[in-house]
Amino acid sequence: LRSAFLIAATAFLFVGKAAAGNPATDVEWPHFGGNAYFQRYSPLDQIAASNLGELAVAWTRPSVDPAIRRALPDLQPSTYNRGTPIMVDGTLYVSNAIGLVEAFDPATGALKWVQHPLPATIKEAAGESTRGVEYWRSGDDRRIISIRGQFLHATHADDGSPVRAFGDEGKVFIRWPTTDNVSYHGTSGPLVVGDTIVIGGFGGAVREGGYGDTGAFREAAPENIRGYDVRTGHLLWTFHVMPLEDDDARQSWGNDSWKFVGNMGAWAPLSADPELGYVYAPLTAPTLSYYGGHRPGDNKYSSSLVALDARTGRLVWAQQLVHHDLWDYDAASPPVLGDVKVGGRLVKAVMQTNKPGMLFVFDRKTGEAVWPIEERPVPQSTVPGEHTSPTQPFSTRFPGVDTQGVSPADLVDFTPAIHQEAVELVSHYVTGPLFTPPSLVDSAPEGKKGTLVAPGVWGAANWNSGAFDPDSGAYFAVSRNLADVYGLFKPTDGESTSEYAILHRPAPGAPAQQPRASLPLALRLSSGLPVLKPPYGRITAYDIGAGKRLWMAPNGDDPAIRANPALKNVKLPPLLGNAGRGAPLITKTLIFLADASDAIVGQSGVHGPATLRAYDKRTGRVVWETSIPVGATGAPMTYSFHGRQYVVLPVGGAGNDVGWIAYALGSR
């Protein structure tokens, strides 16, 4: 929280000529995560449980400025409209659905400018959104820092023109060197700490798409973390996620596998402690994500949380959260920073959830665990050549953020017949506790068809998980609950370089094909229902200082599951939860969270109309809801402008061009 106030206070001292806000009363949202701590928190309290009935749509905006659409009629932007605006100096800035920065008026949503040069052709207009953009200022020099495609951009906050002194006429090429020029993806956007721009991202794999968690290649580029000078765009430093020769962590890569294994980047948001000058990066799985016979050892810094010196990129500390990852169990959530009292002692903490659904708390200066972490024995692989880690780190104080492992008690049981089908279906798979490894698909009719893994490949906790309430010291995990099939086969197409890869399960109605590598998919009954019990997603509140769970509530609803014909005449709970990736906003008293859209890839989400809800942050009780035309595609944010509090939500979905909806008290 303090960092947000510091930044806001700095802004008050240097109000530029273009600033239209009212510094005396405006409350900004200066980072996509609310503040550099990524708390997704604002102290605003004008909108409260007592007046939610008066909350109404203040304005909406399309996901791309209509003038661009008119000029390029074939432009059909992606409905995955990720951008959460920041609000600084009386203006909202956001990455639009084609990745260009747009500046809006906070009271009306009216366009101030679009980043230029404006696209003249579809080729130039084609692009994708990022979740966040950053703001930097020095005196009258005010810049918006953004990532679009293969470039890092600096744009004048006053008028949307490129900062010509930055890189090559306002942009810097940031693609990693890969063997076949695979594209860079920086969908979470940059982070600015002091005068350094820090970027993570992904795209180190060897195939178009750039994802290392699919396919059958073990070779990939390491997705290093990089720091750039915010004034010039010069590369200042590179943190090597694959340890260099002089780093002891190199020893965790047997068989010289450090020479060719890659990925491990931070595709989820970064966070920072500006006072310490540290940036926190959640790192991800190595290649291949599901088979590690070629990479014996713990494989540091894969699936780790690292703290880096923002000025130099020097590693301050690292904590590996999954050893020798075989599940694509990334640290995929933003590291959330907050100050908590533990046994009377003030701890500067960083809280980290990951795909397996652990919640870890570390001293963010030293990396020491605040609550004990225990290495516990885990099931061992039966796949030839695999080197399963004998133990994995378990959080001892905090129960998992969602279902971990698959047991009979976890299977769906809306009716006895549904439960029976689930039991029969699941009997064809290997099941067990958390960290049960992938297994081979046995082609014999009675053979097991792989391992049913929960949490599945998108994790219990993904980028949307994590928020912190500095008022109470509570951390909020937002999770999803689907079990995926991890069935390995031996690729024989001659192109694959891994001995084993995940076998694609054919789509219903598709003609038979050669066995192909893919990513694990959710296991569903013949009716389409997931095999696990609801809720399909949760909000779980934890008291970090006391080391305990406070409450759990479904994170929303899934209208498609509710309408499933198999559930006709079945009495369902008021909320089923949603396995999409909806992100929370915390205010003085409330949590805002919307059902996620199916425009977000990840095997889930709501198709068509959805619901935005407000929860009481102390209890998890739903205190208000309103219907939205399509589901959320990014995180909500809030600000106060000229004395009025607004809540803005990015949305997107088939057949709907609305990009952002703003709510405020009273009608427009």
Binding site: P73, D74, L75, Q76, P77, S78, I98, I122, K123, E124, A125, A126, G127, E128, G149, V182, S183, Y184, H185, G203, A205, R207, E208, G209, G210, Y211, D213, T214, G215, H504, P506, A507, P508, G509, A510, P511, Q513, R516, S518, L519, L521, D598, V601, Q603, H607, A654, G655
Partner: protein, 118 residues
Amino acid sequence: MGAEPAADLLFTAEQSSLGQQLYEQKCGGCHAPDLGEGSHGPALRGEHFWATWADKSARELYGRILSTMPSGDPGSLSQRQVLALTAFILATNGYPAGATSLDSPAQLDTVKITKAAP
């Protein structure tokens, strides 16, 4: 099949086949090889396809591919390539190939994507 006659015989088998080759090169990293539910891309056949595209114009589908794909390098496909991919996706969803070649996106203007009657 398309409800309107214009929807039938819209592209040649060669175009659809070219589209399939392109799909395997450019799209198969994220979308499933059989156009079912993919790792990082939605299903392009079956219920999900109809829920997203039924009653929309085929020109919109063309525009969406042209504007957004492949992820990470959108805008890199030529008009001819995108027409072939559009043909392949339509063919996968029950539209028959014919003798007429799909040479211009304008040919898609009047084609409404319509779910085939069972």
